[in-house]
């Protein structure tokens, strides 16, 4: 693959990514005060957050594309794996800590530290 070809593909990927992000603004910006849009704007973030929590819990291996397929399709065994259990415990700690102190950085730092310790100190 030549540099020029690579540049072309990068441009296409950039264009497609931007398109997915820009389309609602292109077609719907005149209706931004429509009750349906307001309804979506009010409730969608909460829903998306729950989806992202669960998906990111179940797909922590994403960067390693080759292994992720096996990893996630076996989600039933996720919970019984040490990694899954550690993740769940860490996530619950984050939630508990945040409900208690409501300090975002504290909750995230403690939870991430816990999970890293679990992973690196022989949890897996």
């Amino acid at each position: 693959m030549t540099t020029l070809q690579a540049l072309l593909l990068i441009a296409v990927s950039a264009g497609a990514t931007f398109a997915t992000r820009a389309l609602p603004f292109v077609f719907l910006s005149r209706h931004s005060a429509h009750p349906l849009i307001l309804h979506m704007g009010r409730y969608l973030p909460a829903i998306v957050m729950v989806v992202l929590i669960i998906v990111s819990l179940s797909a922590m291996q994403l960067p390693d594309m080759s292994e992720s397929a096996h990893h996630i399709s076996a989600w039933q065994s996720w919970l019984v794996s040490a990694e899954g259990a550690g993740m769940l415990v860490a996530a619950l700690c984050v939630a508990g800590l945040h409900l208690w102190r409501r300090n975002a950085l504290l909750s995230i730092a403690v939870g991430t530290g816990l999970y890293m310790a679990w992973l690196q100190l022989g949890g897996v």
Binding site: S13, P24, L38, G41, M49, S58, S73, W75, A90, M116
Partner: protein, 296 residues
């Protein structure tokens, strides 16, 4: 995290613009906004630097100049999308393939824009950058910023936009920084395994913040049920898009159902028939139960 806009300008009244006597509401200082943005994006930093580095390392496997990897993080700015692009570049894929695959992978972003239409409305040229930078994480942060009750206050709007731009910029900076590290190192020399959990933790925290902002249980139950169903029914590479699309469709259906139900009545339907739109009422009545609720 206290917001300077509420503490510094609490004296400002609604009709400041018409009342020439009182001083107009001051914009929040740039330094304050940067601090606020830095504070909010720190968790993303812990996720994006290792993930960006992983991308950089992966890119060095290609027989291409590392500058192209940097370029990708500058002009594409998508986590999974860039990993996919590396795979496609390595496989010598064609233009159409790259276009369609990227479009499909990122189409969940269609739904993100829906809930930000109003917020981005007045951003001018900065709007393009805000839209460009709308990753999962940036969306989560922007959607969780305190909803200002002063939509009509131009200064508050402007401050909101300035903060959003800084958050987006810092998030991209973490991603680019990680990419550079990965490209330079070629391989990761320190054991950072598990640090990407910072992003999961960020979503948990922002989910709870959404709960504090909404105080309604059903959106969280809807998200939970839809994703669990998705885990069961969908292949993993379609889980995120499928769940968000299904949730969006259900939200649409619920909206129409509600409207259909409301139309025969002249007076508004009783409160438990539909989610209350008056935020303050719900907040007041449910406030005392807040401490008893656990994770949404």
């Amino acid at each position: 995290m206290s917001s300077p806009s509420t503490t510094g300008t609490s004296h400002a009244s609604r009709d400041d613009t018409t009342c020439a006597g009182s001083p107009p509401r001051q914009p929040v200082s740039s330094r304050h906004l940067w601090q606020q943005a830095l504070n909010k994006t720190l968790p993303v930093m812990f996720g994006y630097i290792p993930l960006g580095a992983a991308f950089g390392v992966l890119f060095t496997q290609l027989p291409l100049s590392p500058w192209l990897g940097l370029l990708m993080s500058l002009v594409i700015l998508a986590g999974a999308g860039q990993f996919l692009a590396v795979a496609l570049l390595g496989a010598g894929a064609g233009i159409t393939e790259v276009f369609v695959a990227t479009l499909l992978l990122n189409s969940r972003h269609l739904f993100y824009g829906l809930s930000l239409l109003e917020r981005f409305r007045a951003a001018g040229l900065g709007k393009l950058y805000l839209i460009f930078g709308l990753t999962d994480e940036t969306y989560s942060l922007l959607a969780s910023l305190p909803r200002s009750g002063e939509r009509d206050d131009p200064v508050a709007r402007r401050d909101d936009q300035r903060l959003m731009l800084r958050i987006t910029f810092l998030n991209q900076s973490w991603w680019v920084l990680g990419t550079l590290l990965g490209l330079a190192a070629g391989q990761l020399s320190f054991d950072s395994s598990g640090i990407e959990f910072a992003l999961t933790a960020l979503f948990v925290v922002l989910g709870i913040e959404q709960w504090f902002a909404l105080r309604e249980r059903w959106p969280f139950m809807l998200g939970l049920l839809v994703t669990l169903a998705g885990l069961w029914l969908l292949p993993e590479d379609q889980l995120l898009l499928g769940s968000i699309a299904a949730a969006c469709a259900l939200l649409l259906g619920q909206y129409h159902y509600q409207r259909g139900k409301q139309q025969p009545h002249v007076t508004p339907a009783p409160r438990d028939d539909h989610p209350p739109h008056g935020k303050s009422g719900a907040r007041r009545t449910e406030h005392n139960q807040a401490s008893e609720h656990t994770t949404p």
